[in-house]
């Protein structure tokens, strides 16, 4: 077009192959201004993960509403005998409270990170990881109870529609995998915080990024709790 644009194009560094592709697409443009790149990338990852979990939950909706066999009542399936009488869904309720608490401690860890309170950040992150590990152990207990005692399999179960098992194992299994990965992730970041790696620059964004992932795990559980266990 104008001579100015021409000279600009000519003076652009000669990148070749995939480097030119990356250089052209980035072109020094920044969409999410003043947002740490890692945070933007974590958000985009979480967006993709949202779609993964949404596919599972939509698939669950599809098989549950298309089956002609009665769906097992989650309230009874997940009941626990406490003091001689069955309390419906109590284990799942406790798991929900544990995961919400872990989200609370994580939010405070992020806050203390920005205050550069290294000790409190580390301790709160370790507390979060501990609560997450508790959640996974309770889920392991729940799976064992369902598989061994109740005879639930991905292809069938004694209570009703066979799709119940496949949906349950797929959805909670994938969520449990996310929690387990999150516990490891948190432990890694917590140990780095404890060793003072982010102290110099006060660059505690790494803690916030880990926090985003952890809150997402809690967020997914909110949907699973409502749509799978309570529906």
């Amino acid at each position: 077009m104008t001579p100015a644009t021409l000279t600009k194009t000519e003076s652009a560094p000669a990148e070749r192959g995939f480097r030119s592709l990356a250089a052209d697409w980035s072109s020094d443009q920044e969409v999410f201004k003043q947002v740490h790149w890692g945070k933007a990338m974590m958000w985009i990852f979480l967006l993709s993960d949202t779609f993964v979990f949404s596919c599972f939950l939509t698939a669950y909706m599809t098989v549950r509403s298309s089956t002609t066999v009665p769906w097992p009542n989650p309230s009874e399936v997940f009941a626990l005998d406490i003091g001689g009488r069955p309390i419906p869904l109590i284990l799942i309720a406790i798991m929900t409270f544990i995961l919400i608490s872990s989200s609370g401690t994580m939010a405070m860890a992020v806050n203390f990170g920005y205050r550069r309170d290294r000790l409190k950040t580390t301790l709160l992150m370790l507390a979060t990881a501990a609560l997450g590990a508790t959640f996974v152990s309770m889920q392991a207990f729940e799976w064992t109870k369902l598989i061994v005692d109740e005879g639930v399999r991905p292809w069938g179960n004694p209570m009703g529609a066979p799709q119940f098992g496949s949906c349950f194992f797929m959805i909670t299994g994938f969520h449990g995998l996310h929690v387990s990965a999150g516990v490891i992730y948190l432990l890694v970041i917590a140990s780095k915080v404890a060793r003072g790696r982010y102290e110099q620059k006060g660059n505690y964004e790494v803690v916030e990024i880990a926090g985003l992932y952890w809150h997402f795990v809690d967020l997914v559980w909110v949907f699973i709790f409502a749509l799978f266990y309570l529906w």
Binding site: S65, T68, L89, S103, N111, Q200, L230
Partner: protein, 143 residues
């Protein structure tokens, strides 16, 4: 890059002999600097806000559990479950994940794409309805 220099600087300035004593000795200068940088980041919220959000999440979870405990059935059950679910999700995303304080470009980039999931849910609802009636008509009730 600067990040690498800082890492080197960290390793040099750090005293590995007193890993525990360091955070205790640091707070005085660290706090003053911390609040200044936090203001730059705009992330300084009182802890009470998180505790409040935590409390609300607890109450909402307890209420959705009580929906099941008291065997609320039918449309009321679904309406209550979905309401509590959306309120909880909103609290987590807005407060815990700091979405309320993000720039609009990021908010839209993250929150608008999931809206197309409504189309997926609608299509699959229609599809499963079709499958259900096909099963009833051709296979009768139950296998």
């Amino acid at each position: 890059m600067t990040a690498d220099n800082d890492e080197v600087a960290e390793r040099v300035t750090q005293t590995p002999a007193h890993p525990v004593a360091q955070p205790v000795s640091l707070p005085q200068p660290a706090h003053g600097k911390g609040s200044a940088s936090a203001q730059v980041h705009g992330k300084q919220h009182p802890i009470g806000m998180y505790l409040k959000a935590w409390g609300y999440l607890f109450v909402l979870s307890a209420m959705s559990y009580l929906v099941d405990y008291f065997h609320v059935e039918g449309v009321l059950r679904w309406a209550l479950i979905l309401t509590f679910m959306i309120l909880k999700a909103g609290l987590i995303v807005a407060i815990f994940m700091h979405m309320a304080w993000e720039r609009l470009s990021l908010i839209y980039a993250i929150l608008v794409p999931p809206l197309c999931l409504g189309t997926l849910v609608l299509f699959m609802a229609i599809e499963s309805n079709y499958t259900f009636w096909t099963r009833i008509i051709f296979f009768g009730k139950g296998p």
